[in-house]
Every structure is written in C-alpha cells, then in structure tokens.
Amino acid sequence: MIKPDDLATLHIHRLIFHDVPKRMRGLEAAPVLSEIEATLDADRIAHLKRRLVRVLGSKSGYDIQFRPESQSPVPELIRDYTKGKQRPDEFVPLSQKFAQFLFEQQTGSSSSGVLSIMDTTVTGKRGIVVLKLEREEGAQLELSTKKGKRTFEMSVLDNLVLTEGTRLFKAALFVRTGPGGDDFSSGACDSQRPFGSTDELAQFWLRFLGCKLIEEPRVATKKFFEAALLYVNDAITDPVEKTKVYDHVMSEMSSEKKTFAPRTFIEEYVPKAHRESFESFLKEQQVSLKQSHWTLRRLSVDSGGAHTTPPRELKFAFRRKKQTS
C-alpha cells in the first residue's frame, strides 16, 4: 500500500520517454524509442513529482499487487530491475521492453500515448514509476540526438507531463519492500477511466501492468458498508445527523455511479464534527479510503444479476441494517 510518507520521500533518479502509437491492422507503425534517458533539472523533477503525488495519492488511486496468472512481462521486469543495486546501464533497455509490450497491447480502442519510465527510490528503497500520457493522434513529438543517440526533447515533459491541464494520466508506482518476488508496495491510478468501469478500456492499465487490486472491490465495499453503519449506530448521537448519514450511506450504495471512494463520501456527506473520527474509524476497521469500492449497481453487474439486483449477501446486510436502524 502506498502511503503519503512514501510519496513524500519519492526521488526520481532517471526518466525516459517513448512514443507508443496504436497498432492498427493494415497500417505499419512502430514505437519510437529513446536511446538515452532524459536530462532533468531540479525544478522539473520537483514539478513532475508533484503531479505524480496528486495522481497516485488521489481518491481515485488504488492499491495493487502483481497478478500471478498474468501474461504481462511487466511484473518480472520490475522484480528483476529492482533487485540489488541500481544498474544504470540496464535502465534504457528495460524501459524499451515496457514500450514494446505496450505497443503490442495497444490495439482496438486504446489510444496512442507517451510512455515514461522512471527509476526511483522511496526512503532508500528501489522503485519504478510507469506513466502513460494520452496524446492527440497525429501530434508530433520533437526528437533530437544527443551523443549520437535518439531522445525526446524536454518539450515532451513540459507540454505533456507538466501542463496542469493534462488530465489523461495512467500512472503506477512499485516500491520494493523486501527480497521476495511479491515484496512490493504498489499503487496505480487511471484518471481517464476508473477501474470499476465494465468496459475493456478500464481494465487495460491493470492488464498491461500485470496487476490486480489488492482487495476485491466486493470485499472492500462490504467492509465499508459494515463499518459505516457501525459508526452511524454507535458514534453519532444526534438523531437527525444519524438519519442523514444513514440515508447517505444507503443512497451512495445504491446510486447510479459504479464506484465510489470513502474519502469523497466523507467530504460530501459526513458532518464536519465527525469527519476525522469517521475516517479514523474506517482506518481502524481496515477499510481502504480510496476509489476501490463498487456500488450495488456495479456489484450486481459483476455477479451477473440484473442491474438493480445487489448480490445476495450485501442485499441481505443492507436490508438487515436498515431494519435495525
């Protein structure tokens, strides 16, 4: 799980860009790969880091882990590269493998983009950031040559990454926490499409990364629901407030949205006096505060039922809590 202290102590040591077009049947296309890493100054690094914190630490970020059955080479590349000491000479070839695999995956409706790989440390622990930025079809990225090797101009960073208006971000951070193959703290975010969407595109980023959510949305949702009702019953004494928050929990769960984040719920519906203690309570109950929760509507789709039918166990809990309240 990526925590604020991890993001605070994130250091970017190396960065490289590759231009990865969409693979289209009948058309010849190939990724344009940088051959050397980009040169960064302190201000650009700081700006880039701020953008990453805003995205990875946001409510729509989610905690992930490697998926054992994944066909993606990404987990193995990350495991291998972050093992032992930093090996600067292996960074460029590593990043090119990421780009090549992304190109192979980028078919159908997934968009062309600029892929950036960053070699990082977090409180001294090795890490990798993977960032994909969508760019307009046909937009040309400036290439230049340094020491006889091809690289992208810093205008890529300035125009695509550091522009506050750029919203189409897919990002992931992997931090090695131990020697084992699964000893990683990892988080991701797809600002374009939340993970809960049913369409293929929403799953694209996780599939490319070879990852899955650390907690099944079904479980996360159930934990939130149970914890929220416990808090409403035990901690809110004012009957008007109690009813209001209870109603909000119910309407959030049964809303037309597909996903929700408890942090957003707190900001929007929990009375000011209860926000901190409600959040603390959720943390105590090990409820994730990020966007890893599905509404009943999404859960219904997941369980193959009709759109309005929540899964049986949650539906039961929902009804039971409503009665006892």
Binding site: A8, R50, R54
Partner: protein
C-alpha cells in the same frame, strides 16, 4: 619577529591558505550539523585570515611564530540567547577535538587584566582522532578558533574591534568606567532577551508565542532558514485551537512528531531546498510542522480553517510536498 621570518610566513600562508580553508569548511560543517541537531537558530560563518591580517598579528604578537598562530581559521556562530551559547559550547567535544573554552568572563574578573569589555567564548579546535581526514589535516598543524556568541556579544565585539577597548594600553579611569557601564548595559540586554524569551514561552495567555517557541526548537533541527515571525504568529493564531488542547499540550506535540518523523521530514526539507519553483511560501516557516501534524491527524478541519484565512493553493502545495493529494 625578523623581516625574513615575516617574509617566510607570507610565503607559507600563500601556500597553505587553500588547505586551511578546506579544513575550516570541515569544522564549520560539523558545527552546523551539531547546531541543527540542537535545534538552535544560528548564523555560522568561516574565514581564513587574509595575508595582511596574518602579518599584522605576527607583528603585534611577537611571542607567536607562523606555526603557533592559532586563529588562521576562524569560525563563528552567532545565536540569540546565552543559554544557546552554553549548549553549543558544551556539545563541541562531540563535533571535534577542542581546548577548554576560553571564557572572557574569567579573564575580566582578573583585576590585574587592564582590558575592559564583554563576554566572548572561544575554543581551539582540531579534527578528532578518528576522523577519516586526520592524515590530510593533522592536528599539530590544522587548528581553527571557534567563537560562539549571542547577537549582543557580537555587537560588542564588532564595535570594540574597531576601537581600543580590547587593547592592553592603559585606559583613563573615567573612560574605563564608561566602557564598563556600556558592557554592563549590553550584558543586561542579553540577560533580558533571554528572560523575556523564557517568560514568553511559558505564558498560557500568549499561546501563539509559546507554540512558536516550541515549533522553532524543532524546525531548526530541519532547516537553518529563518521564517517570517509575523506570518508564523498569524498561522499559529488561526490554527492552534484545532487541537482542542492547552498551549502546553500543543507545544509538547512537536518534539514527539519530530522523533517519529524526522527522516521523512528531513527528506522533504532537502527536496524543497533544491527547488524554488512551486514551493509554498509557507514551507520554510516553523509552523510548517504544525501544518504537517494537522495534515496527518485532521486534514478536513485543517482545510476548512485554512481556507478561511489563507490561500487554499498554498496548503495544497504543502500537502503535496508531504505526499498528500487533495484530488
């Protein structure tokens, strides 16, 4: 000292000055690190003697040779309060090898000493026996004089340097009395500054000052960059009651916070030092620790209160630096 000795000293110093400067930087860095560890606000400077001063000193002090002259490198730490002088002097042995402090308080008490003036403490220093660069800077040759003073002592020293107060020449009794009075006045000022500072940090009805003092004590462990006191007081006044605790309880939080989070905080401070673009104006301020503490414990209340008085964008920048996203 003969003319040829002086000429030899001149040649030697021209050859040695660069290495003494390097040595001085080492001692200065060690002293700065120690002052930071103690959480004291200080101005630390280092100089090597210029060639003219060196020759003049050898002429005035014929008992010295080029080799025995002790203050070829001078390092000065100027602090606000006398107790901080004492703290730094007491911890000098952990920084480097050093002599017993030469405290002018002792010398001025000696009735036979004709000099008049005010307190100043200095120590002869050298690299410790286990220092990795001892072979490059052997203690028989490389010594630095470290002076630790309050601002008031510094004022006296700077003025007296340009006058004859410190000279061994007999001074007329009426003048001597006036100089003593003046020195006493500065000592009283120094003592009063210390007492006022102590009192202000203990008065519950002056909560902002009490909390600022507590914050400063921890903040200067992370950065030597002074903040804007007016802004500090304004932020503290606006935010401290979010704790719903007494000023004493609030003041005690920051030491605990630093014990737990010093590595993370230091890392973020170091990053912020390297960049000025996109850094909040509130960052290099002692109350940044209060803001960080609130971000950790009650971010919702903090955001709400903050935006009543200060630009929300600034808080967002601070939060991002500490790994919190408001998005």
């Amino acid at each position: 000292m003969s003319r040829s000795d002086l000429e030899q000293a001149r040649v030697s110093w021209l050859a040695d000055e660069a290495s003494f400067r390097e040595f001085g930087q080492l001692v200065k860095s060690g002293l700065e690190a120690e002052i930071k560890r103690l959480g004291i606000k200080a101005e630390v400077s280092m100089r090597t003697k210029d060639i003219d001063s060196l020759i003049k000193k050898l002429i005035l002090k014929p008992e010295h040779t080029y080799e025995s002259l002790g203050d070829k490198v001078g390092i000065r730490a100027v602090v606000r309060y006398q107790r901080e002088v004492d703290e730094i002097v007491a911890s000098m042995p952990s920084v480097c090898g050093c002599s017993e402090p030469d405290d002018t308080r002792q010398r001025l008490a000696d009735e036979k000493d004709e000099r008049v003036g005010y307190i100043s403490i200095h120590l002869d220093t050298w690299l410790k026996d286990d220092h990795s660069l001892l072979a490059q800077f052997p203690k028989t040759k490389y010594r630095a004089e470290v002076q630790v003073r309050t601002l008031a002592q510094h004022l006296w020293s700077e003025i007296s340097h340009d006058t004859s107060y410190k000279s061994r020449t007999k001074i007329r009794k009426d003048l001597k009395r006036r100089i003593h009075l003046l020195a006493g006045l500065i000592e009283v000022a120094d003592n009063e500054f210390s007492r006022i500072d102590d009192d202000m940090s203990k008065m519950p009805d002056m909560a902002e000052f009490m909390i600022l003092k507590a914050l400063e004590r921890q903040y200067y462990k992370l950065s030597a960059r002074p903040g804007n006191t007016d802004l500090s007081l304004e932020v503290i006044r606006h935010l401290w009651q979010l704790y719903e605790q007494s000023p004493e309880q609030v003041s005690m939080r920051f030491g605990v916070l630093l014990d737990e989070k010093q590595a993370v905080l230091q890392d973020v401070f170091d990053q912020m030092t390297k960049t000025s673009k996109g850094r909040s104006a509130f960052f290099f301020q002692p109350e940044i620790l209060l803001i960080y503490d609130q971000l950790q414990s009650q971010p919702y209340k903090l955001r709400e209160h903050w935006s009543e008085r200060f630009p929300p964008e600034e808080l967002e920048m601070v939060a991002t630096a500490f790994g919190h996203s408001f998005a």
